[in-house]
Symmetry: C2
């Protein structure tokens, strides 16, 4: 970045408005160029552990430093250590986006620096939150029984949902009396599929449920929770004197983006008075497409649902929405109003601090409002459709190529696949169990090598997971700047590297 | 904001770099002007419940809208509903700051939009986090046994600390077996002062401890926890077969900023094997001043400590630091690594997702790095000293004026005081208990009226709390742009309004 501005902090007070303006322009220029050229950076940072830290002074500066120096160091020391989630070939985990209007919304929210804990500490933040979350509710086709509240991450949204589920159990007074040392409260049981996100397990640990009281229900061959197994598990637990209290359905699991049969789970939950929480953090966004809306079938009977527009709705991180049909229960799980936060507006306003863990709350609604308005619902739909089209394309390429294998259905924008080097088949005795096991291990290793080689190029970033014990590569499309050209390049990269690797099968 | 840029979203993809640049400049201009003129806005938003929401369309826009329109609405519809935490006469709750370098750091972090869950998903974010939190540790004079981890809020930091405290209890296997339905786990007991923050109670509810198992220890006449009462409570609980596991000391309570005697609490906690957590969210910042460092005396023996640079260290919200002396215990409370997040760097790197609830983590370290370097440690010290000097000034004015009364010591930048209209004394029989009670109620009401009148002017924003059942006004200084002139203006406002109100004592 070029130097041009009043460089130093004044003796007291803030940076001068002139300096802020000059440096602000420079950063806007830098970001505009950065986003334009994101693909010229290596996706995955090409540094070794400690490379960044060892270039930074071990002690803080006593004297003020010039902002020029700081920005120079940002470019020289920080940027080489950044893994570029903005790179259009970032296709690992779930790809995310920071589009222009979202970044600008984030900028304004950083500048306003309000705390939306109470309505009166920023009425616009509370009311805009209510309005935009209702917009999103309508876009998803959820009933007006659902109210939304903004959280930072799905980890927190699901924790709050499970806390509400616990609070909804009648007669146990867990809020006041806790869970420990009580004769009258049996172990609480939580039901999820084997494919549920780790955040659910973390929440169960925090809430004092315990990992051993999470029943991980088996999935079918498309990685969807089996309702018959859910019923059986609940019956078994009830017979054993345990207390089933909550089930979590996932709409778009992390590994394969499978969709649990919510419509079949809902009556089971109702019958046994279980809270039904839906984790639609990633795939829920797709429900704004009429052709995908069936993924939320049954969700009208859910008690809560989480969706993360920071994943696949082009909103900068962090921005997670918790919808709940029983706001009074969510409130009863959390509300604590100390003397210094008493208000006089009463029931006319929603003080959002009452509905979650954090007292401090950013002005998150602003960036989402910018994103929805700037792209429009139809613009968002076009972009999601394109991502799904690209993923289907990639799945077809995998299906059509003999030495690749697709490992799961592709309902959205994520493809699980693996390389199956044909040459390997010759090295093992396929008639013996042991031979087949060793072949599978060799294929796993080959895929790990392939992933490592592709990611090391800095031209693409894919991730991996395990399915039925086997290593599987994952490619996901979610970045607003990803085009078919990027996808073709990644496919070419994969093929280039399989050709190199296969030349030395022994090394595999 | 003036219009000048390419207004509409393209069919597909992101805002063009040209549009981003033009709108970015406009927002930088707007923010520079806004911060310069922050005091020309009413501090407390002058709107009624529903005023903002009813001006917004009930349904989301199907078609893209121009960014010009969005920014116009931001100014016209949103800004009037903003309570301006940037206003230099915002002196309610704890005042906070968004200084120029912090806003610019936030802008870059919004643009990079990384997720620092794993080291490799942004090595620079993880390593900069490690470095700047170690800088802060040194600034506070904490021993190298403490490691830091970035959280969003103290609500979450303290929740994580208490989760670690629970995980540290030997033999109970709470992570796996939970708390419910067990014969071998007695009720867990948590010790805090009557003045502790509500976030501690919320954490105890979440963790399944229960509100009734929080022992609220009495305070002395300076609102500090009484160690003798702590000892007695622990002994009583142990005798009753309960399980004391954690005590929380507050360095800077929310109501009066009193400092619990950590050095006296630490040996008690050691003796009874309690985890000692220190909530220094607000006042911890003052420990970077050598003359204030004694407030952390005893903290070297604490197990964890939370400090929020977003409160009183000029860092935009959100930015909370949890220091812990037993990172392996914190990790054991949280770490869950699913297949899709397995890594190969092993023990060489810190994957911060292992140390907290949230899997998703913003690049928070960047703004703090900007703030420390731009102001320098000495610059931060100058600003904190000035805030303390201003608060002492205000306390003196209160002390010197006959119809005002100071209600607590002023160790930092917060003053608790109340108006005592002398005229009221004549209206009640001071020789009777009932007369004195009615006088106190009348004084409470007078202070509520005074607060309301002052806040309604939009020229200042103060808050209130209760101390020993009495309504008390709170003035706090924490905004980087607050000067003595602003403080004088607030004092004048208070006096103007007492004079108006006192003319009609009957109305009180």
């Amino acid at each position: 970045m070029k130097k041009d501005a009043d460089p130093m902090a004044p003796e007291i007070g803030d940076m001068s408005p002139e300096a802020f303006r000059a440096y602000g322009y420079r950063l806007i220029d830098w970001i505009a160029d950065y986003l334009k050229n994101a693909e010229s950076y290596p996706v995955l940072a090409q540094v070794r552990p400690g490379d960044i830290a060892r270039q930074l002074p071990p002690q803080p500066p006593l004297q003020a430093e010039s902002f020029d120096e700081i920005l120079e160091d940002f470019e020289k020391l920080i940027i080489p250590g950044v893994t570029h989630w903005n790179h259009p070939a970032f296709m690992a985990y779930f790809a995310i986006s920071a589009p222009g209007p979202g970044i600008l919304g984030e900028l304004l929210s950083g500048a306003l620096n309000i705390n939306a804990m109470l309505w009166k500490t920023c009425p616009a933040a509370s009311e805009l939150e209510e309005v935009v979350l209702d917009w999103l509710r309508q876009m998803l086709g959820l009933s007006g029984e659902f109210s939304g509240v903004l959280m930072d991450t799905a980890s927190i949204s699901s924790l709050c949902a499970l806390a509400a589920a616990r609070a909804a159990i009648p007669n146990y007074r867990i809020r006041t009396d806790g869970l420990a040392g009580r004769q009258d409260v049996p172990p609480l049981r939580l039901y999820v599929s084997e494919q549920a996100h780790s955040s659910i397990e973390k929440a169960a640990i925090l809430l004092g449920i315990g990992q051993n009281h999470i029943r991980k229900i088996a999935v079918d061959d498309a990685y969807r929770l089996r309702p018959d197994m859910l019923s059986a598990a609940i019956a078994e637990d009830r017979a054993a004197g345990l207390k089933p209290f909550c089930a979590v359905a996932t709409v778009g699991t992390t590994a394969t983006t499978s969709v649990d049969p919510v419509a079949a789970m809902a009556p089971i939950c109702r019958e046994h008075q279980l809270w039904l929480h839906v984790d639609a953090a990633y795939a829920g966004s797709a429900a704004i497409l009429p052709e995908c809306r069936p993924i939320l079938d049954g969700c009208e009977a859910a008690d809560s649902l989480v969706l993360n527009p920071h994943k696949w709705m082009f909103t900068p991180f962090d921005f997670s929405v918790l919808y709940c049909r029983h706001m009074e229960i969510l409130r009863s799980a959390f509300s604590l109003v100390p003397d210094y936060l008493q208000t006089t507006e009463g029931e006319h306003v929603r003080n959002y601090m009452d509905y979650g863990i954090q007292l401090g709350r950013r002005f998150r609604a602003l960036k989402f409002w910018f994103v929805i308005r700037y792209f429009g619902v139809e613009g968002l739909q076009r972009r999601l459709r394109e991502h799904i089209r690209l993923a289907q394309h990639f799945a077809k390429w995998v299906d059509q190529q003999a030495d690749f294998e697709r490992m799961a259905p592709v309902p959205f924008s994520t493809v699980c696949f693996r390389w199956v080097p044909k040459a390997l088949g010759d090295s093992f005795d396929m008639d013996s169990e042991k031979g087949r096991t060793r072949l599978n291990e060799a294929i796993d290793l080959a895929n790990e090598k392939l992933l490592d080689e592709v990611n090391k190029t800095g031209q693409a970033y894919l991730s991996s997971t395990k399915l039925q014990g086997r290593t599987v590569l994952r490619l996901t499309i979610g970045n607003i700047r990803t085009t078919e050209a990027h996808l073709r390049r990644v496919w070419a990269l994969l093929n280039e590297h399989t050709q190199t690797l296969v030349q030395d099968v022994d090394r595999l």
